[in-house]
């Protein structure tokens, strides 16, 4: 490389005037079947990427990304669930030795130790050996951690009530006519204080939007109660009829 005196530059810049040839390196002297990344290997990677992308796009077409109903902070009965890759941490916090007064252990100490060890693995596993069988401690702890993560995730999925979860998040697109006689009666007869202003249910009462009952059955429940539902209706038979038909109409 030319240095010092006699160097020529492009204009007043620091770019040398002498052009360097754009020639790939020669890998023929490298061990084994070494090949150049550009363009040989990149082409193969590109093909793997293309196949992957087709599979990935098929997935997005086949499975719509989930969206639950709009967040309602007043619905205290909702059972929360994090994304699947946090389930093992979530499950850990359910055990009695890692929750309540011991939350610090479940939320901080155990994950902190595990992820701290992962972060500092090169400084813990100091030996020169690379083969997994030659470093049993590192391999053992990793296998143990993987088993624990898989087990906790499995337990979490197993404990979760997926039927209820699906129901509690459903988008309900029933339009309620709040000026109708039926809705006004529902308000006057205190239906809305438990079943909610949108009649979508709450902590103490189910949704009225997808009831499977007929108008007659609804009228009976409103008047005489059923299970934890008290007998609340105190109006006339005509009002009862209007109310029952209104609620029955919501589930269609």
């Amino acid at each position: 490389m030319h240095r010092g005196k006699g160097m020529k530059f492009v204009g007043d810049s620091r770019v040398p005037a002498e052009r360097k040839p754009n020639i790939p390196k020669d890998y023929s002297e490298y061990p084994g079947k070494t090949e150049a990344f550009w363009p040989n290997f990149l082409l193969k990677e590109w093909m793997v990427g293309a196949v992957f992308l087709i599979g990935f796009l098929s997935l997005t077409i086949a499975h719509q990304p989930p969206l639950e109903r709009i967040a309602d902070p007043t619905d205290t009965a909702y059972i929360p669930l994090p994304d699947w890759y946090f389930l093992f941490l979530y499950q850990l916090l359910k055990y009695s030795y890692a929750s309540g007064p011991f939350t610090v252990i479940g939320a901080l100490v155990i994950p902190g130790l595990a992820f701290g060890a992962l972060l500092l693995a090169p400084f813990i596993d100091l030996g020169p050996e690379r083969r997994p069988s030659k470093r049993p401690l590192a391999t053992g702890f990793m296998l143990l951690s993987i088993a624990a993560v898989f087990y906790l995730t499995w337990e979490s999925v197993d404990h979760h009530d997926w039927e209820a979860a699906k129901k509690q998040g459903q988008i309900v697109d029933v339009e309620i006519d709040k000026n109708s006689d039926g809705y006004k009666i529902a308000q006057a007869q205190t239906c809305t204080s438990c079943h909610g202003g949108e009649l979508a249910g709450g902590a103490a009462a189910p949704s009225l939007l997808d009831s499977k009952m007929s108008a007659e059955e609804i009228a009976d429940v409103a008047k005489n109660g059923k299970g934890s539902m008290p007998a609340v209706f105190k109006g006339s038979d005509e009002e009862l009829q209007t109310l029952a038909e209104f609620i029955d109409g919501l589930s269609e």
Binding site: R19, G49, I61, L119, P122
Partner: protein, 224 residues
Amino acid sequence: MLNKIYDWVDERLDITPLWRDIADHEVPEHVNPAHHFSAFVYCFGGLTFFITVIQILSGMFLTMYYVPDIKNAWESVYYLQNQVAFGQIVRGMHHWGASLVIVMMFLHTLRVFFQGAYKKPRELNWVVGVLIFFVMLALGLTGYLLPWDMKALFATKVTLQIAEAVPLIGPYIKTLLSGHSTIVGAQTLTRFFAIHVFFLPAALLGLMGAHFLMIRKQGISGPL
């Protein structure tokens, strides 16, 4: 034509050495699935990067419609998914990609771990890689809130409770993340949006740059 443009730029900026540094390096036989099929385990890192690129691109398109505000966030996601042409595909790519990137990163981490590839002289690259892992998990966590649906809100409430359980600084962390000591609402959503779209991607790009620089400098670890 292209050559002339290249020459024109190269004359002024001397980009050939730069280009050779980026594009020209060897691929040893033991990492090449064309020669040893079992070498497919070396693809996981590249696929993680590929999905990350998908995440960045699809995320950029999502922000064309998304509104980080408690009144409109859910509405905008609903609109994007049901009304916008290919909106479901774009959101689907971002949603499923978020899961896939975790899977690929997990596999990549296991490959490096079980091969002992993090040993001297590659300790620093391992540390940076695990930091990338943490940033990715944080991206997943903050992105989960953004659609502002039921599961988003209540999962985030749980997360903030866990953050609050940290001794001494817990309540401060919670306030920093949610914008208020008790309310999870408008402030929380804008903060998570800012963290998800600006803070964490900035950290991610910096860390990935370091990750790639180190692997290029040191070369890939040799066969076992």
